[in-house]
């Protein structure tokens, strides 16, 4: 049982290594990838149950008690997001495999896709579980490097620009991250998070602010916080649907998670945290307005992604148990719904041959299944009841309304952003699903990996998407126990002590 928390990290790395070794057999690769992610889901579920029942699951790697060794910590927050993330990764993998079979035939092996996909999952898991600042950096590098590879794989004249934007901005954020780690070590001589949370307290408040803001910038870039978000809508939309879905679902939320983890554990702020309130407002509005200006479906979704990061930032800014609970709940919902929408976007493009909304039309009549698959996550993202988006937003709004005038005013911005989200999604519905059916746009590049403009879509692609819709619905149905748990998670985060005790208290064992 001691290895439990390490499995979500080590299994996929092992899987990736073996996937390269067996790269001549695509069947072996598929089985390897699916079993790895499947077992990760199981492990994550067990971790979540254990973390919720009996406190954070901590393992000291190598048997070295932290802060000497690296600790992996699965508390409620980490375990919940890990579970949702692995579920999404599994579903997206199913979609991708099915698409690859449809587009390539059954025999096309790849020495790139499966290993990289698994490495990415490993990086995500490690980021959630890491109890060590430097390991967090390493996990980000694992995750990001894998994402670079996935984004630039089989890149073409059209997509290379997006790849460059993404890689360059991410590299800057990585180097700033490393710089921040160096700064932290300079001031405290430790990189263990629990240890740090004690040592940072001893620093003068001014310097605590410096460090806190450094991490806000570092994670803000990767979480697409305005004004550090510009790279995202320029890069995500150009990747194949499963890749974009995976990125949109996981990467920004991992960064947001890292922001929550560091800010709550290391730098407790005022309640509310005014700077973050402003950043949340900017993120919500700039993202939502950006979405409204788009004609490209994937770009529109990307801007909505940015906008809804602002919702989570709002929860963080309130900086009390309810706010953090809301942010956690929102993150869990956001991971699912964004991945779903991008997968649906992929299905739409596959069917219509285009991402341009003004070249689509009449899909509700020609493809009712697609209409349903789009409508449910769209309503979820817009936060209309009784979806998961509504439940999460409700918690955020309650936290805001209960935290004074400033947060209440920002809650009004949340309302405005929700409205703009609905507006943008209505636009998609009206343009793509209603109106005259338009002729399918021919595949502009029949030789490339992606087949578009075809009515031939294998059912597992729909099934994987529907599976994600089901996850999202499950979040809504089980909102009771879930919100109770995120509530406890929020209290833990504010209290800080449970985490420290779980990591360092065990050292005396």
């Amino acid at each position: 049982m001691t290895a439990l928390a390490a499995l979500p990290v080590l299994l996929p790395i092992l899987g990736a290594a073996l996937a390269v070794v067996v790269s001549t057999s695509v069947l072996a690769q598929r089985i390897l990838a699916l079993t790895t992610l499947g077992s990760m889901v199981v492990v994550a579920a067990v971790l979540l149950v254990r973390a919720d029942r009996s406190g954070p699951v901590v393992i000291a790697l190598g048997g070295w008690a932290p802060p000497v060794g690296i600790a992996l910590v699965a508390d409620r927050l980490a375990a919940l997001l890990l579970l949702v993330s692995t579920l999404v990764a599994l579903a997206v993998l199913g979609y991708a495999i099915s698409q690859r079979i449809a587009d390539y035939g059954r025999r096309m092996a790849s020495s790139t896709f499966y290993p990289t996909y698994l490495v990415l999952s490993a990086g995500v898991s490690l980021a959630y579980l890491s109890g060590d600042l430097f390991t967090l950096f390493v996990s980000f590098e694992i995750m990001l490097t894998a994402s670079y590879v996935l984004l630039t794989r089989r890149t073409s004249v059209q997509t290379i620009r997006a790849g460059m934007t993404y890689v360059i901005v991410s590299l800057l954020s990585s180097l700033l991250f490393l710089t921040a780690v160096a700064m932290v070590y300079a001031a405290t001589a430790t990189v263990n998070l629990a240890d740090l949370s004690e040592r940072v307290d001893a620093l003068p408040p001014g310097l605590r602010t410096v460090l806190a803001l450094m991490f806000v910038v570092v994670f803000g870039i990767k979480a697409a916080m305005v004004p550090l978000h510009f790279w995202l809508p320029d890069s995500y939309p150009n990747a194949p649907a499963p890749v974009t879905a995976l990125f949109a679902g996981l990467l920004t939320k991992v960064s947001f998670y890292a922001m929550v983890r560091t800010q709550t554990l290391l730098f407790p702020h005022d309640r509310p945290w005014t700077l973050m309130l402003w950043l949340a407002v900017a993120t919500m509005l700039v993202g939502a307005l950006g979405a409204l200006a788009q004609n490209d479906l994937n770009r529109l979704l990307s801007f909505l992604l940015v906008s809804h990061i602002g919702f989570m930032l709002f929860g963080l800014a309130v900086f009390d148990a309810r706010g953090l609970s809301g942010a956690t709940l929102y993150a869990a919902h956001h991971i699912t719904v964004l991945a779903t929408l991008f997968l649906v976007g992929g299905l739409i493009t596959r069917r219509t041959g285009t991402v341009a909304l003004d070249r689509m039309g009449g899909l509700a009549a020609t493809s009712p299944a697609l209409a349903v698959l789009f409508a449910i996550p769209a309503l979820t993202l817009a936060g209309l009841p009784p979806t998961a988006g509504f439940v999460a937003k409700l918690q955020l709004l309650q936290a805001g309304a209960g935290a004074g005038v400033g947060p209440t005013a920002v809650a009004a911005v949340v309302i405005a952003a929700s409205f703009l989200t609905l507006f943008a999604l209505t636009k998609v519905w009206v343009r793509a699903f209603w109106g005259r059916a338009r002729p399918t746009v021919e595949d502009p590049d029949p030789h490339d990996e992606l087949e578009v403009g075809t009515a031939r879509t294998p059912w597992p692609m729909y099934a994987a998407t529907a599976g994600l819709v089901a996850v999202s619905l499950a979040i809504a149905v089980f909102a009771g126990p879930l919100s109770a748990m995120t509530g406890r998670a929020g209290e833990d985060l504010i209290a800080r002590v449970p985490y420290r005790v779980a990591v360092l208290g065990d050292a005396d064992r």
Binding site: T2, A17, L18, S23, A60, L61, G62, G63, S111, V157
Partner: protein
């Protein structure tokens, strides 16, 4: 812009569809031939005899040195990384001397597979203690009886170093395959002098 390369969108100089890539790595499982022999080298104009001679002598020496670094890491500067990089540099040297026709014969195993094996060994080392009920990534000292007399004390974390070593060698070889042979292939395809 280089006039010899394609137009901005890369349309020009297209090889015919169906043309196979000329990377020797695809034939990695064919019988291997000796390396750096006359006749299997690049165009004579670009041969550097001195480099070839030096390489023939240095290559095994460097490899041995890298093994030393691997073993010495626990007690002085060195370790899997440095050792792997040193070994990798030995292959680089060979590549520089022999050109792109050669690296297919460098190792009897494809570089990605080498990388995969290295990584698998490293992760295996991390997971193996779990079977024995120990924490993940923990290491113990093993006493290995030597055939002659006495025992060799081995810290299990050495296996991690071995994994690292293999992986790094694989990475360097893969870089040679891609940035070395791969680019040369592209240059030939574009009609540039390789």
């Amino acid at each position: 812009m280089n006039p010899l390369t394609s137009s901005p969108d890369g349309d020009a100089a297209a090889p015919q569809p169906g043309e196979r890539e000329q990377t020797p790595f695809e034939s990695w499982d064919r019988p291997r031939s000796p390396w750096l022999l006359p006749g299997r080298c690049r165009t004579p104009r670009r041969r550097t005899l001195l480099l070839e001679m030096v390489t023939r002598g240095l290559f095994p020496t460097i490899l041995v040195f890298s093994i030393y670094l691997l073993c010495a890491g626990h007690y002085g500067p060195g370790g899997g990384f440095s050792a792997g990089l040193v070994a990798g540099l030995a292959f680089v040297l060979r590549y520089l001397a022999g050109g792109s026709t050669d690296p297919g014969a460098l190792v009897p195993i494809r570089p990605p597979v080498l990388m995969g094996l290295g990584l698998a060994i490293a992760v295996g080392t991390a997971l193996a203690p779990v079977v024995a009920g120990e924490p993940v990534l923990s290491s113990t000292k093993l006493a290995v009886p030597l055939p002659g007399s006495g025992e060799l004390e081995v810290v299990t974390s050495v296996f991690l170093d071995v994994g690292v070593y293999l992986l790094i060698v694989g990475v360097v070889l893969d870089l040679l395959r891609a940035l070395g042979s791969g680019i040369e292939r592209d240059m030939r395809a574009a009609g540039e002098e390789a």
